[in-house]
């Protein structure tokens, strides 16, 4: 089974035997993949059909709405809390981010970069809300209601005192180009951050 680009990055960061919480776990492919390395934990998913896929795949999944927070979980109860491609779809990303860092020793957050040049081009020059492979919906029916750029996200982390342990910025082919290395906020399409509490 091949993992989605961002999930492959995340998988590489998680050591064997870790205990993880995957928020908005989709069909459970990451957790299923990690099971092979003795990684335990749960997925949270609200979508009925994705939820069923998790059950069919033997992945622990809890039907829950991320907008309601993570009050069912104790402080620092997971080695990693993962939120991939979902931050932009929640009602209060700031609240969820703090919840992630409360229940997890480290957080892994992946999101589509709204600062990518194509987004800037579509909005800045064509005067239209961006539509791309990573953000395929029109403005009126998109679940992505809180889009941000790399800089925006880093600023929010700073504000809460969460520091970056690792970052991976790639295009949607999972390629790390020279452009991305030089100007990640302009050329990166998908960003994944590994963050933890306090200063590194």
């Amino acid at each position: 089974m091949t993992l989605r680009v961002d999930l492959q990055i995340i998988s590489d960061w998680i050591p064997d035997n870790a205990h993880v919480l995957d928020l908005g776990c989709g069909n459970g492919s990451l957790l299923k993949h990690l099971q092979q390395r003795n990684v335990t934990g749960y997925g949270l998913e609200i979508d009925n059909s994705k939820f069923s896929e998790c059950i069919a795949g033997g992945v622990n999944v809890i039907q829950a709405d991320l907008d309601e927070g993570l009050s069912q979980f104790g402080d620092q109860s997971f080695d990693f809390v993962i939120l991939s491609q979902t931050l932009q779809a929640v009602k209060r990303p700031d609240f969820l981010l703090r919840e992630i860092m409360r229940v997890g020793k480290q957080g892994i957050i992946g999101f589509p970069n709204f600062g990518h040049w194509q987004c800037r081009f579509q909005l800045g020059l064509r005067g239209k809300m961006p539509v791309s492979k990573n953000l395929p919906n029109a403005w009126f029916d998109t679940p992505n209601i809180h889009l941000c750029t790399l800089k925006d996200f880093e600023k929010l982390c700073d504000q809460y005192g969460f520091s970056e342990v690792n970052r991976s910025v790639v295009n949607h082919e999972h390629k790390d180009t020279l452009g991305i290395r030089l100007l990640p906020n302009l050329f990166g399409q998908i960003a994944v951050y590994l963050i933890h509490n306090g200063n590194s």
Binding site: Y42, C54, I55, I62, Q63, A64
Partner: protein, 382 residues
């Protein structure tokens, strides 16, 4: 029923009997000198005896969970929607065991069986049994069948409480626990409803302090009223509205106190048919077993501590319109399992049918139930 049995039915089934000639010490401090359990089985036990699934029944259930006892039966067993070849609990893969609980009235030792010490019916002298007592007796049944570990213990409502108790008290004997439409303990409101039901039975002049059989009578009114009340709590406002609305039997208002609305007629029918098939003393006992269930009690009311011993993986399911044991009650169990770091999945099923939804073939419910059990089957066969 029709001449031929449905293809996805377990078919014709005959109950089995287990007689245990050893005393069973009960939570209440009393001891049953000997006891009988009646049970049904479906499917085939594999050579490793690893594919057995225990079904625990709810308040008014019994050992007849699936299939037909005779070709004349109008209806199959109470959980035929979930048990059978190709169904959620697939009898092509699993050996399914469903006993009638102690204190029941369908063949296991209970108020309407003979007390060997007196040679008379137990009646109200039958000791009150608890969920934990049931688990103990079911474990004896498992031993007799050579089943050391259940692939899964499955139950809805009071049956779900037994599944949870199994996982807590005999952790090494449960592979998976499926706890459906249950709660970790009754709320004051739940107990209040039970008390009204018991008062209805006990205040019936035909009750005779529970010795009604000696008087050759049955507390019909009281048991019927208890069932009516229970039935209201099993349905939702929405389900009742959909099914009956304010429909009148005769089409117009009569300005009298006879049955006018269809819902009244339905409740009366439900209660009168229930009275024919159920024993009042058993009803009293079952409601008490519900009231007393509280596995966290021994752990300073900390459910997380109570579930610490669990080794089973769990699937917890609730239904949106269930107000008897609402999704929040299931979430109490889920939260405890999560805090204890146990393997658990939780689904909340959209359903209008209220508490009774757990018996219905709701597509998403059945899909999740079946997918989960397929995983269990894979584990068993690997």
């Amino acid at each position: 029923m029709s001449d031929s049995l449905p293809a996805d039915s377990v078919g014709l089934v005959t109950p089995s009997h287990l007689h245990i000639d050893k005393p069973l010490a009960l939570d209440c401090g009393r001891t049953l000198p000997q006891f009988d359990l009646i049970y049904e089985t479906y499917g085939t036990l594999n050579a490793e005896k690893s594919n057995a699934v225990l079904i625990c029944h709810a308040l008014s259930g019994d050992h007849h969970a699936a299939g037909f006892n005779s070709l004349e039966d109008r209806k199959p067993g109470w959980w035929d929607t979930a048990i059978g070849p190709g169904k959620a609990i697939d009898t092509n893969h699993f050996f399914v065991v469903c006993p009638n609980n102690l204190g029941g009235c369908k063949g296991s030792t209970g108020p309407n069986t003979i007390n060997p010490e007196t040679g008379k019916l137990y009646g109200p002298d039958f000791p009150i049994v608890t969920v934990a007592d049931w688990v103990k007796s079911q474990a004896i049944l498992a031993d007799s069948l050579g089943i050391h570990k259940w692939a899964a213990v499955v139950g809805g409502s009071l049956g779900g409480m037994q599944a949870l108790d199994w996982a807590i008290t005999l952790p090494e004997r449960v592979g998976h626990a499926l706890v459906i439409a249950a709660a970790p303990k009754l709320s004051a409101q739940n107990i209040a409803f039970n008390e009204v039901a018991r008062t209805a039975i006990k205040s019936d002049p035909e009750f005779h302090e529970g010795r009604y059989q000696e008087f050759d009578t049955v507390p019909r009114q009281g048991l019927g009223l208890a069932r009516m009340l229970g039935h209201i709590t099993y349905l939702s406002d929405e389900a009742m509205g959909e099914k009956f609305g304010r429909e009148l039997r005769s089409g117009k208002i009569q300005y009298g106190y006879d049955v006018e609305f269809q819902i009244e007629s339905y409740l009366r029918y439900q209660s009168s048919s229930f009275v024919e098939r159920f024993d009042a003393n058993t009803y009293l006992l079952m409601t008490k077993a519900l009231d007393y269930f509280d596995p966290a009690k021994e752990f300073d009311d900390d459910l997380t501590q109570a579930v610490k011993a669990i080794q089973a993986k769990s699937l917890i399911i609730s239904f949106t319109s269930d107000w008897r044991f609402s999704p929040l009650r299931s979430l109490e169990i889920v939260d405890a399992l999560l805090s204890a770091g146990k393997s658990v999945s939780y689904a909340e099923i959209e359903a209008t049918q209220g508490h009774d939804a757990f018996l219905m073939p709701i597509p998403r419910y059945m899909e999740i139930f079946a997918s989960y059990m397929q995983q269990v089957a894979k584990e068993v066969n690997s």
